[in-house]
C-alpha cells in the first residue's frame, strides 16, 4: 500500500512525534550524565618525558648519525618500556597488586616523529598513584636500559608532577552526553518510525484516497472538544474560541439560521 517512501510524510510524522524524539534524546543525555558523574570512577593521567640522547664521546663529534641512531632506538625503546622486563620491576618496587598485563594497558608510550623525546603516560584512579607509577617506570627504564642495551643514552627530561587539583581524563561527561544525545535521537526517530508503521488506522484524508479510492466528504473534529467546561488546559485555546462563538450566537440570536449560509 505504502509503496513509495514519502519524504514529506516522513517529516510530518517526525514532527508529530517530536516530543517522543526530544524525550528520548534528553533521557539518554541524562543517562550519560548520570553514568559519567555518578557511576564511572574518574581516571587521572600522569605523564613523564624521557629524552633519548647518547652523550657523545667528545662534544665536537656530535653528528647527524648519532641523532639517527637515537631515533631508530626510540621505536625499540617504546616496546621495551611496556615489556615485562620493566613492568615487573615497577610492580615489585611499588608493591602493586596487579599483573603486567593490566599495568601495560594503562601505560601509553608515544613519541613525536623525528623527536628524541618519548612521552610516557599512565592512567590511574588516583592521581598520586599515576604520578608514582609514571616516575617509577621512567626511573626503572633508565636503569634497566643500561643492562639491556649496554648504552647510557636515556635521561628523564620531565618527571610527572602532582598538581594541586588534578583534572580527570576519564570519563569525559560532555563527550558521553554528546554520544548519548546522538543515540537518543536515533532511537527516538527509530521508535517513531516503528510506531508509525504499527499504527494501521486510517488517519489522513490521503489514506481514504489511497486505500479506498473514495471521496472525503469532510472532516468532523472531536465533539468532546465542545461543550465541556471542565476541560484540561490543553484545550484552553479551543474553549476560548467556543466561548466567543457562544457570545456571537447570543448576539445574533434574533436572526434565524445564522450559520446556514455557505
Amino acid at each position: 500500500m505504502e509503496s513509495t517512501f514519502n519524504m514529506k510524510e516522513f517529516f510530518k510524522n517526525m514532527k508529530k512525534r517530536l516530543p517522543l524524539i526530544i524525550a528520548m534524546t534528553v533521557a539518554f543525555v541524562a543517562l550519560a550524565a548520570a553514568v559519567s558523574y555518578l557511576w564511572m570512577k574518574p581516571v587521572y593521567e600522569a605523564s613523564t618525558q624521557i629524552l633519548v640522547n647518547k652523550a657523545p664521546a667528545n662534544a665536537q663529534e656530535f653528528s647527524m648519525q648519532d641523532i639517527d641512531t637515537n631515533l631508530q632506538l626510540i621505536s625499540t625503546y617504546n616496546v621495551i618500556i611496556k615489556s615485562p622486563a620493566i613492568l615487573t620491576e615497577v610492580i615489585n618496587e611499588l608493591g602493586l597488586n596487579e599483573t603486567v598485563q593490566s599495568l601495560n594497558e594503562r601505560i601509553e608510550v608515544s613519541s613525536i616523529e623525528d623527536s628524541q623525546v618519548v612521552t610516557l603516560e599512565v592512567e590511574d584512579e588516583s592521581m598520586q598513584q599515576a604520578v608514582l607509577i609514571a616516575n617509577t617506570t621512567a626511573k626503572v627504564f633508565e636503569q634497566e636500559i643500561r643492562n639491556l642495551m649496554r648504552v647510557d643514552n636515556v635521561s628523564i627530561l620531565a618527571p610527572a608532577m602532582m598538581t594541586a587539583s588534578p583534572e580527570p581524563v576519564k570519563p569525559d561527561p560532555l563527550f558521553n552526553m554528546a554520544v548519548g544525545a546522538i543515540i537518543g535521537f536515533m532511537l527516538g526517530t527509530g521508535l517513531a518510525i516503528v510506531l508509525d508503521q504499527l499504527n494501521t488506522t486510517v488517519r489522513t484524508e490521503e489514506d481514504i484516497d489511497e486505500l479506498l479510492g473514495l471521496q472525503v466528504l469532510g472532516i468532523v473534529s472531536p465533539v468532546g472538544d465542545l461543550g465541556k467546561t471542565d476541560k484540561s488546559s490543553k484545550h484552553t485555546d479551543r474553549m476560548e474560541l467556543d466561548e466567543n462563538v457562544e457570545s456571537d450566537s447570543v448576539k445574533t440570536a434574533a436572526r434565524p439560521k445564522v450559520g446556514s449560509t455557505y
Partner: protein, 231 residues
C-alpha cells in the same frame, strides 16, 4: 404518544449542529452537506444511509447532525434509526421508543402517526421501535421498499442511521435500497483493513458510495485556524 414533541430536556451534547450552530464542528457538517449536494448525480438523492465499518465510529452523531444541517438548509428531513440492534436516536432526542421503524415493518401503525417532532424546524424523527428478533429479515422485506416510497413522498431527504456494516448484514441491505451511502470513519481508530472491507461490502451490495466522513479528526493548530478563516 404519537407525534409527540421532543421533551423539554436539553438536547444531547452530541447534537452540536443544534446546540452550537456557529461552532467549527457545525461548520464542518455544513461543509459535508455542501459536498454531498455537489456530488449528487442529477440531484435525485432522497435516501441517504450512514454506516461505518465497526461500532462507535460516530454514525449516529454524524447522521443526526447531518439531518439537522440539511433541515437548516430548508429541506424537509426525516431521520430514521435503522439500527434495530443498538438504537440510539430516542436517547439523543429524549424520546421513548415504543413505536418506530420495526413496528412499521411488521405492518403495525402508519408512518404519519409514527414520526416524531424533533423540535427542530424541518426535521422529523422515526425511532427504531421495539427491538425485533430478526432485523435483517425485516429490512429485507418488500415492506421496507413500500415504506421508503411513502417516506419519499413526504420528505425531501430521508437519512438512515444503521448498524456497523462489518458485524451484521442490515446495512448491506439498507445500502442497496438507499440512493447513497456515506461511510463514517473514526480517524485514528478505524483500521485500514476494516475500512477496505467496509468499502468492499458496500460495493458488493451495489450501493452508491457518496464518500467518507472522517470523524474525530484532530486538526493541528495551524490547520485549525486556517480552517477557521476558510469560510
Amino acid at each position: 404518544m404519537l407525534n409527540q414533541t421532543a421533551s423539554k430536556r436539553p438536547l444531547a451534547r452530541k447534537l452540536v449542529a443544534r446546540i452550537k450552530p456557529n461552532s467549527v464542528i457545525s461548520e464542518q457538517y455544513r461543509t459535508i452537506r455542501t459536498t454531498i449536494n455537489f456530488s449528487l448525480p442529477g440531484n435525485e438523492m432522497k435516501t441517504l444511509l450512514f454506516t461505518s465499518a465497526s461500532k462507535e465510529e460516530g454514525k449516529s452523531t454524524t447522521s443526526a447532525n447531518m439531518a439537522i444541517v440539511f433541515a437548516e438548509s430548508g429541506k424537509k428531513v426525516l431521520l430514521v434509526d435503522a439500527d434495530m440492534r443498538k438504537p440510539t436516536l430516542h436517547h439523543t432526542f429524549h424520546l421513548n421508543n415504543h413505536m418506530g421503524l420495526s413496528n412499521l415493518l411488521i405492518g403495525k401503525g402508519e408512518l404519519e402517526q409514527s414520526v416524531r417532532d424533533s423540535g427542530i424546524q424541518g426535521l422529523e424523527l422515526l425511532t427504531s421501535g421495539q427491538i425485533p428478533h430478526n432485523p435483517a429479515e425485516l429490512l429485507d422485506s418488500p415492506m421496507l421498499d413500500r415504506l421508503i416510497e411513502k417516506m419519499k413522498e413526504r420528505y425531501d431527504l430521508i437519512i438512515f442511521d444503521s448498524p456497523p456494516i462489518l458485524s451484521v448484514s442490515d446495512s448491506k441491505i439498507m445500502a442497496n435500497k438507499c440512493d447513497g451511502t456515506v461511510l463514517v470513519v473514526n480517524t485514528g481508530k478505524t483500521e485500514k483493513q476494516s475500512a477496505i472491507k467496509a468499502r468492499d461490502s458496500l460495493t458488493t451490495s451495489k450501493a452508491y458510495i457518496v464518500g467518507v466522513v472522517m470523524n474525530n479528526y484532530k486538526l493541528s493548530k495551524d490547520h485549525y485556524y486556517s480552517y477557521e478563516y476558510n469560510y
